[in-house]
């Protein structure tokens, strides 16, 4: 059973609010009651629209690398992250299309709330994916990484979507230019069998990351 199911809405909100604030470049310590209430109201709207779905598949590293050798051979980071692992687990998670649809509606009439809603949605996706990962009791595994990290080709998303029938199973679709829809979706990997903590080393923003300038990390929200 997911731990998330034991938490009430307020607890989930409190857990994700600091991350959402980071996305909005807001210091969560400095927000006033009015902003907090507005954010919680936006969170209520978000939860009314969320239909979280997750899918995971185990695969050998060999099969993953063989899924499209032209793409996977381009990336040294993929090999780096999976070094020493025999198997990999692929996660696909999404908050569902209703979240996108409601965001569009909010943007038409209440842009301020739309910004808060959007940031909360991004934070909620991370949180729910964390919970989903934890519920699988994977044992030792690397941190979660995705196509687009470092030099891992983002085109791999499309290959994975087709190979694992993700559109059919949980409703993540290909959009133009290697993007996915619904927008609050992600496809990630964990290498199995060893613990590897996240690192900035291979991130494209290493040299100009605003969080690093303030001695913060995106993975320690």
């Amino acid at each position: 059973m997911h731990k998330r199911e034991e938490m009430n809405d307020k607890e989930i909100f409190n857990r994700i609010f600091p991350t959402a604030c980071r996305y909005m470049r807001v210091d969560p310590i400095k927000v006033d009651v009015e902003f907090n209430d507005k954010a919680f109201e936006a969170f209520g709207m978000l939860m009314d629209n969320v239909r979280f779905k997750g899918q995971h598949e185990f695969m050998s590293v060999k099969n993953l690398m063989g899924i499209d050798t032209e793409l996977t051979s381009q990336s040294s980071d993929l090999s780096f992250y999976l070094e020493g692992c025999k198997d990999v687990v692929i996660f696909a998670t999404t908050l569902g299309v209703n979240v996108d649809a409601f965001s569009k509606k909010l943007q038409a009439n209440d842009m301020s709330r739309a910004v808060i809603y959007d940031s909360l949605a991004s934070a909620l996706l991370e949180f729910m994916t964390d919970e989903y990962e934890e519920s699988l009791n994977l044992g030792a595994h690397t941190f979660r990484f995705a196509p687009g990290y470092g030099d891992i080709p983002i085109q791999l998303n499309y290959i994975i979507i087709d190979a694992l029938s993700i559109s059919k199973k949980i409703g993540i679709y290909k959009a133009s230019n290697n993007m996915m829809l619904p927008q609050k979706s992600m496809i990630t990997f964990c290498g199995m069998g060893k613990e590897v903590a996240p690192t900035c080393a291979h991130c494209i923003r290493l040299k100009n990351c605003s969080l690093r300038k303030d001695n913060l990390r995106c993975y320690n929200s």
Partner: protein, 800 residues
């Protein structure tokens, strides 16, 4: 022939193809359709096994064979489809079953979401489906669309099949445990829309096992008039010894179907995890004859997620999306500025409308083209069905084609030419039609109106439309000119209701030309509802009219327990209104006090008090010149907000709230300007080609507009050429490009290069999460701005 058997004898589909292929060596990531050419003997064997098990239908190995999904395949998709059909035909011939088995061309989803949620256009989806069908249409017995999660995509497929092939069309969607598809369609809506499109059978497959699908199966059996096809998975997937397997055996599968087996299922097969053994056990257990089901017919319209029944209690249709008498809306339509329509639509839905009227008819406007644009835009933001309101049959057809759901069509009248133009559109796309009781002359008496209604019913029947496909408008005439006819309208309402018809009225017509119109409107509305009116077309933001409906629902025992009434009315403060007679005819006065308070315009902007700013601005304009208010209050207030944001005293959401409040104030102040008042700019904004993130760009737009800039918003995923064309058309003072992804920065570079090649000499500003000063220089932009305020400050610096 299929139609001789369908719905009479239980027919059997085959089981999972993917499962069989994986068991025979298909690896992850491999393209199953290639096997039609690479290993035809395997495909033939699988088909034979299902036929031997008792299947009547074999589905071709073409589930993903659309050109987009097959872009990486070794062979053209049409070659693989032809080979698949050939293999199916060979299998049945090998067993001597060519005369008593059927080849179903299997079409699965394209794998991309349709616009406006996604990026694939409806027309492109149609063409992809059409291509799959046309290459084999003479060699198949039917088409089956399977495992669809999106109703709009399914509609594109059904139209492609209907318009290019004369074979029966079966549809099957997938539902999750909440009994909704991936894009939120419920079974009732699915049924209503697909029956309107006149498919031959309707069903459910995949995602879940028979037990989990039972609620959906039962709804299909209870509510659909079509033969029902079900193909569950072999239960839910589970991990065993490191492999994913399906939990049910053939015995437990058939056991899980026992509650529905004898309830009228017309066709049964299986999906993921099922094998020939599953089909065999179905054949042994399902009844030979299909049980007849008596399903009542309803008058219902649908969006993609919501079905509204127009034959039970009162349902409001919002009237405000109609340019008649609305100068601002007319201007917005002419300028192709659809934001106003979007806002009005949302406001009406939030106020309780269950259907929305959409009318874009204006002289000089290409109504069909506007409908094609505006219908998807509206459906992106509201979930309720739309009423397509036009006197132009081409515009009605254009709207119905792109409409996602089953629309309400407003309208036909008693003239043959009008009915002959509109009824075929309703039949083609599955719409409910409003019949207006009006012919060459305006009818006065009840009997005259009823006679026109009967004529409409009779004509509709020639097209296969029944009473349940019609809603009658008994015609509201204005009492100030035709007083006696109001009673005739009410009489006619009663008669058509007794005839079993649903009814509608444009309520506010009744009071035209009279003072205190709200009083006449709500009285007439109450009387009309008592006479049987089901769908009043009104302004749902008019609380007095909505309150009438609340009260009526209580008195007529529809709102049982007065729940809705209490919810809507418990916070209403009842005030005693004193009516005074006045020689000058000023009429009733209001005993309440004014709003008062010490808040001024600047305070409201600083605090983002969007709901209060209008009243306060109006009050200030009574004592302050408009230009003085702008220059000495609004702009300084905005500038202070901007400084507070830059210094970190406030944050982005508060900045946006302040900007939106200022925008409302500006709109109010502008009413006091003469025509010569000028906006700054214009500035073009867009998200570049390939990028569909637009929230950042939209934020910039709101903030710039609050500072008086005219913004031409080209939207998102804007092709390079379109940006160049816009530059040439609008002669902007600056161009702002946004991109969120590193991959689309390349498109930003191409856009800038194209603009430069076309002699663009205005500043090009870029922004977005992945951009920096350095990248901006690399791609030859003039400036990089980090956020909305920086952009506004830069525009001011550049004296734009």
């Amino acid at each position: 022939m299929i139609k001789d058997l369908l719905g009479k004898k239980t027919l059997f589909f085959d089981g999972g193809m993917g499962t069989q292929l994986q068991a025979n060596g298909l690896s992850v990531g491999a393209i199953p359709e290639e096997l039609n050419i690479d290993r035809p003997e395997l495909i033939v064997m699988i088909h034979e096994n299902y036929l031997k098990a008792g299947a009547d239908f074999i589905t071709t190995n073409t589930f993903g064979a659309n050109a987009h999904k097959m872009s990486r395949a070794k062979y053209p998709n049409t070659d693989m489809i032809k080979a698949a059909v050939k293999n199916a035909d060979e299998a049945r011939k090998n067993l001597g079953r060519e005369n008593d088995s059927f080849i179903a061309l299997d079409i699965g989803p394209i794998g991309e979401l349709l616009a406006p949620i996604g990026t694939l256009s409806f027309d492109d989806a149609y063409e992809l489906f059409k291509e799959q069908i046309v290459c084999v249409k003479d060699d198949i017995d039917c088409v089956i669309f399977e495992t669809f999660g999106d109703l709009y995509e399914l509609k594109a497929g059904v139209l492609a099949a209907k318009e290019n092939c004369d074979k029966p069309i079966f549809v099957s969607m997938s539902f999750d445990k909440s009994a909704r598809t991936l894009t939120g369609t419920n079974p009732e809506t699915y049924i209503n829309v697909m029956e309107g499109l006149k498919v031959s059978a309707i069903g459910v497959n995949c995602s879940l096992g028979p037990k989990e699908l039972e609620p959906v199966i039962k709804t299909l059996l209870e509510k659909s008039h079509l033969p029902v096809l079900i193909q569950p998975n072999a239960g839910l997937p589970t991990l065993r010894d490191g492999k994913t397997v399906f939990e049910l055996t053939p015995e437990s599968f058939i056991d899980a179907l026992k509650n529905v087996m004898n309830e009228g299922i017309a066709m049964i097969g299986g999906c993921c995890g099922t094998t020939p053994d599953f089909i065999k056990i179905e054949k042994e257990n399902f009844p030979v004859d299909v049980k007849e089901r008596n399903v009542p017919y309803r008058t219902a319209v649908s969006s993609s997620t919501t079905t509204v029944y127009l034959d039970e209690s009162v349902r409001v249709c919002g009237e405000r999306l109609n340019p008649t008498g609305k100068k601002k809306l007319q201007a917005a339509l002419r300028e192709e500025n659809y934001e106003m329509l979007i806002s009005e639509a949302i406001a009406q839905e939030d106020a309780g409308a269950r259907v929305l009227d959409v009318n874009v008819g204006l002289p000089g406007i290409d109504e069909a083209a506007v409908m094609r644009k505006i219908i998807p835009m509206l459906q992106e933001v509201v979930s309720i069905p739309l009423q397509i309101d036009s006197s132009n049959a081409d515009a009605i057809e254009a709207a119905c084609r792109v409409y996602n759901g089953k629309p309400l069509i407003n309208s036909v009248n008693g003239k043959d030419a009008v009915m002959e133009a509109v009824f075929p559109v309703a039949v083609k796309y599955g719409g409910v039609v409003i019949g207006l009781a009006l012919s060459e002359e305006v009818p006065k008496l009840c009997e005259e109106r009823v006679a026109i209604a009967e004529k409409i019913i009779k004509k509709a029947a020639e097209y296969g439309l029944t009473k349940k496909d019609l809603v009658i408008d008994c015609l509201t005439l204005t009492v100030s000119a035709q007083q006696a006819e109001a009673a005739e309208t009410l009489k006619a309402l009663k008669v058509v209701t007794d005839m079993g018809l649903s009814s509608t009225l444009g309520v506010s017509n009744i009071s035209f030309g009279l003072p205190n119109r709200p009083l006449i409107n709500r009285t007439f509305l109450t009387l009309a509802m008592h006479s049987g009116l089901k769908m009043p077309i009104i302004n749902p933001l008019d609380r007095s009219l909505m309150d009438c409906i609340d009260a009526f629902n209580v008195i007529s025992n529809v709102d049982v327990g007065c729940e809705q009434y209490i919810k809507n009315q418990e916070n209403v403060v009842v005030q005693t209104v004193t009516v005074t007679k006045s020689v000058s005819g000023e009429g009733a006065g209001n005993g309440t006090s004014g709003s008062g308070g010490t808040k001024d315009v600047g305070f409201c902007i600083a605090k983002g008090l969007k709901d209060e700013i209008t009243e306060i601005t109006v009050a200030e304009l009574e004592k302050t010149d408009a230009m003085v208010l702008i220059n000495e209050t609004i702009i300084p207030a905005l500038n202070k907000v901007g400084r507070d944001y830059d210094s970190g005293k406030i944050f982005l959401p508060q900045l946006i709230q302040a900007a939106e409040t200022a925008k409302v104030a500006f709109a109010e102040v502008q009413k006091h300007f003469t025509v010569s008042s000028e906006k700054k700019g214009p500035v073009i904004l867009c998200t570049v080609e390939g990028d569909i993130h637009d929230i950042g760009k939209n934020i910039v737009k709101v903030v710039c507009e609050s500072y008086g800039y005219e913004i031409i918003d080209l939207g998102k995923d804007v092709p390079v050429d379109s940006v160049v064309d816009a530059y040439k058309e609008y002669h902007p003072k600056a161009i702002g490009l946004s991109a969120l992804m590193t991959t689309t920065v390349e498109n930003m570079k191409r856009t800038i290069a194209a603009l430069r090649a076309n002699n663009c000499d205005v500043p090009i500003l870029v922004g977005g999460a992945v951009l920096t000063d350095e990248i901006a220089k690399e791609i030859n932009a003039d400036y990089f701005t980090e956020d909305a305020m920086s952009l506004v400050n830069l525009l001011k610096e550049l004296k734009i």
